[in-house]
Symmetry: C2
Subunit: 242 residues, 2 copies
């Protein structure tokens, strides 16, 4: 679990940052689509039933189509394919440590890993996307929504854990490990990218401006509270203790 009490210095955004920051979010989500693509493609290769393989390959293709839209929008925002590629490559490996630290044993752990890990990452991206220009935000939110509907995880896990109490308690434990590692990924992303810090601060400020409450002094502390609460809701939807 990352400590979220220390917030990096938040430098105020200048107008020249805006496009650049949007480029970072778009590139980051495009990398997530690559992760999703590789995950689905691997599952398609492993599938023994041709009909199931065809379905899973379709999910892999949908991830790539979303990636294409994200990179196309990044191109509009950043102005050149080289700039897009630079951002995209910079986020390569952002999930490598997460993956190496969370080696799933078997299908159920793999499913919960994707559900919890992607859930946290997407919640984070959805929040920072609130500070993007409307067109970029729409592309990001559409990509996230599309990725989440691809996952038929909820029904599958819910059914399995209803039937098998031992599995339910093993997966609950596993889910707690995954969420800790996923929150660490978000922490590292924020620490390494001033752009994401700026967007988070702007998104938080905008949210609190709406309600009229005081803006939290530490946006990242607020963020981790949000992500943890969302995680608890997500676990309860599949009948697992958070």
């Amino acid at each position: 679990m990352p400590t979220s009490s220390e917030t990096p210095d938040l430098t105020p955004a200048t107008s020249s940052d805006t496009a650049s920051d949007a480029g970072d979010v778009l590139a980051l989500v495009a990398q997530m689509e690559m992760v999703a693509f590789l995950r689905f493609a691997g599952a398609a290769a492993d599938a023994t039933d041709p009909e199931r393989r065809l379905q899973i390959a379709g999910l892999a293709g949908a991830s790539l189509a979303r990636q294409e839209r994200l990179l196309a929008r990044a191109g509009e925002v950043l102005g050149s394919p080289e700039a897009v590629l630079g951002r995209y490559v910079a986020f390569d490996g952002a999930f490598d440590e997460f993956n190496s630290r969370t080696h799933a044993r078997g299908w159920w752990e793999e499913l919960v890993k994707g559900y919890v890990g992607h859930g946290v990452a997407y919640d984070f991206c959805r929040i920072v996307a609130e500070a993007l220009d409307p067109a970029s935000r729409e592309v990001v939110v559409d990509a996230i929504d599309g990725e989440l509907t691809s996952e038929s995880t909820i029904v599958l896990v819910d059914e399995a854990t209803n039937e098998d109490e031992q599995l339910a308690s093993r997966l609950a434990l596993w889910g707690r490990r995954i969420v800790g590692e996923a929150l660490s990924v978000v922490q590292v992303l924020l620490t390494d990218n001033a752009s994401l810090q700026r967007l988070l601060a702007q998104a938080v400020a905008a949210r609190f401006a709406e309600t009229g409450d005081d803006v939290p002094a530490a946006p990242s502390a607020w963020l981790f509270g949000q992500l943890t609460a969302e995680h608890a809701r997500r676990m309860s939807r599949v009948g697992l203790a958070a």
Copy 2:
């Protein structure tokens, strides 16, 4: 190398066969796209450079997009998604034996295997597609053309074998093994599918009607002659002895 002297009995096509036969070719090529997809997806997973991984994933996505068009046309021709799935599933595993008998050692053999193996399979499909209705033929030919331009094999292999004579002779030998196995796949496909036999006979008859020459008594003998000649041309394009 299959013996191509025995032609299976060719039953004349009835009008009710036409749509059904087209469905078989579309489903077969759709399975080839799955093979191509899995091959590209595996290469994307193995790629260490993120830019290269992105490119290869794009090729995987293009294979899936072509597969979608093939299955959509099969749906138009056959009239129901269930019928499409039935044909598609029937061709599952058509390339399994080829794959298990041609285990490539290393990147170059993998590349030549794809180049030669896909080359033969696509040449076969292109010939039987000549007997399809125009819309189905167009979808099949577009899919094949798209798959072939995806392959930057020619330049790569040509350069490598120019520089390395030992590699050139190893790959030439490998290419001869691959073409033998690939022709066997075609032989089995013809033996197992009356639809493909009918289409081949129709395509050959149409070709010879154009030239005014006598139609060969054994369309499959003619076919294997064509496939072998195309293979020789293909090998010479990459600077390898057929």
